[in-house]
Symmetry: C2
Subunit: 374 residues, 2 copies
């Protein structure tokens, strides 16, 4: 398929075509180091979540900066990451289609792989494929952390399913997945802490049930950018699964730290580069990007670095701006940076991310696992 | 880039991997004929809007079913459509980047092309490229239909800009773009009619100003699936730009016809095929598709053909279902059809559309203009 590339290396930022995702490399690299430092000495490792970016070049840099491996949400993403040389992959999702399980097993020869399970029905499917491929598939039980989404209830139900998994030929019960997604975006640090304390209690209760069944395991994985310090300090988690930390977004920019100030240990490195294409009335302008280049599931994008200019709406093809009385008018053709409302589904709309350093294009990386994912 | 294909021809529907877009060919073809019949004898032609699907195979079938040509929203989409043999393309957007204007002009040798303008600032940019390419670029003035988005105000401002366009070397003022997007989705037929009557009045006022300036033109284009009968019967429109008519979606399913009944002349042909991957508690199930395979900007998807099962939420990776007391439980691995909330941005998330006839895969078409568009 044709895949228009918005830039070539070495050109100036202003020559990058719009709409395009820009990655400010200095900030991105700083975010990676900040996470590395935040985990240093804790005994807890980062397992970078590639669902945020679906880009193997980014994943490789996260591993180089200390991540033990990556998480993927889909087997197709794992195939892409494994092909790029990532050696340790956890699928943080239920995989129940025999075609997909076979695809996953076929990675197992060269790559450490593991996958979740939250139902007895999935066990024979996973077991059959593992034995056919003569490998031992590592299985983590997903714990219902309180959000009542996927995952079995904490405590004895976890131990009961773990026991069945561990008995199945070709399967090894390897640990627990306990990720509280909706807790990540709670504005108050205290609210996040309360939710995660409850999650940690559920993990401890499950570990007690597992220990009683002779199935205690050290591999406890979960946590995201908004909460990872709580899981890090829990004494039970061995891994945190942050992804957005490398980029930040409008949604994460709203959350506060312990002191009530913005949670600023990570900085915005990802921007949506766009152009003014219409300015038919004073005080208004329209950009060349809408739902097809920016996902507004967590709110509108915001304008970066231009005072008095607000995003007031987004349609299929356009973003509407209101230009305040004291702001400079925006000429037709003017290119500007937006901060995406939500990193993950916005990355997923683009085929390329343009790496920028000091206003020059350093590289262009394919978002090679982009798509709905199989 | 790797692009996983969710099916191969001739297999049964149940072997199609999830998540995937399904196009029910019998219904799709019937929708094309319904539109052809709805316009027959009116003197008004369909210019199918490819922003809905971004798929050249679909565009070719729309042209074969009577469309005079297509609309595109981005130059990159036009490049894809022209490469597939579409001979008549209107870009229904402002194009102001010299790189993109040059790309558009380079199509002009083999393809009829036209583009919008709503600012004086764009004229020298368009004129320079047209003369450099030794072609006459057809320009439509976009009229502000009352939504206060892109477009110049009706009447004299339209004539004034048209006159400047027509004087510019290499440019020909060819007609008017007058599309009222937000009117398409008003539930009541009467409300849609009121909005479109006002749009038609603005077009007539603009035509009067143009006639006074010796610039009256017959090419008046606009309208969508929700309103096209009003523009068809207006006496001034020469084209309608419907796109969703071929597919329908949850948003269009809500609108009513003249009689207050659902607007049923078109039927759902597009479905999102998905699998139950988790069902941890009675009454709940989770599907393997979320924001990355379904755009919920116009609301959640709905379940097709299974009574008592409701979509209650969508997250990045999952769709949550509530299973009513009288509904059959959904087993792990069960595949089902969702009706997308909004066709356009949902097509844009997928790389393939799987063509189904009588529960067999007939073909798999690439969504070859997918992406944010350059």
């Amino acid at each position: 398929m044709p895949s228009f590339q918005p830039a070539i290396p070495k050109v100036n930022l202003n020559e990058v075509e719009t709409p395009a995702l820009l990655l400010d490399m200095d900030i991105f690299e700083k975010n990676l180091i900040t996470m590395e430092n935040a985990l240093a000495g804790s005994g807890v490792r980062l397992r970078a979540h590639t669902k945020a970016h679906k880009c193997s070049e980014i994943a490789k840099r996260q591993v180089a900066a200390g991540a033990v491996g990556v998480c993927c949400q889909k087997v197709s993403e794992a195939v892409t990451m494994a092909a790029a040389g990532i050696k340790n992959i956890l699928i943080t999702n239920q995989i129940v289609d025999p075609v997909k399980i076979q695809r996953l097993c076929s990675l197992g020869e060269k790559t450490e792989i593991a996958v979740l399970c939250d139902s007895k029905e999935a066990i024979p499917l996973l077991s059959k494929a593992a034995t056919a491929n003569r490998l031992t598939l590592k299985i983590l039980i997903e714990v219902n952390v309180g959000a009542n989404r996927c995952g079995v209830d904490a405590g004895d139900p976890v131990a009961s399913l773990a026991s069945e998994v561990d008995k199945a030929p070709g399967l090894h019960f390897a640990g627990l997945q306990a990720y509280h997604g909706s807790a990540q975006h709670l504005v108050s640090a205290r609210d996040r802490q309360v939710k995660i304390s409850s999650t940690i209690a559920k993990v401890k209760r499950s570990k007690a049930s597992l220990a009683a069944a002779g199935l205690d395991r050290k591999w406890i994985t979960g946590a995201g950018t908004g909460s990872f310090t709580f899981e890090r300090d829990s004494g039970v988690y061995s891994e945190v699964q942050a992804g957005s930390y490398a980029f930040m977004d409008g949604d994460y920019a709203k959350i506060k730290g312990d002191d009530g100030n913005p949670f600023t240990i990570f900085s915005h490195s990802l921007f949506l580069w766009s152009s003014v294409i219409s300015s038919p009335r004073a005080g208004q302008a329209f950009l060349d990007v809408g739902h097809k280049g920016h996902s507004m599931d967590s709110g509108l994008a915001t304008v970066s670095g231009l005072d008095g200019i607000e995003v007031t709406g987004q349609s299929d093809e356009h973003t509407a701006l209101e230009i305040g009385h004291n702001a400079k008018a925006l000429k037709i053709g003017k290119k500007l940076k937006l901060i995406p409302g939500h990193v993950d589904p916005t990355f997923n709309l683009h085929d390329w991310v343009v790496c920028i350093r000091k206003n020059k294009v350093e590289d262009i990386w394919p978002i090679d696992a982009r798509g709905p994912g199989f």
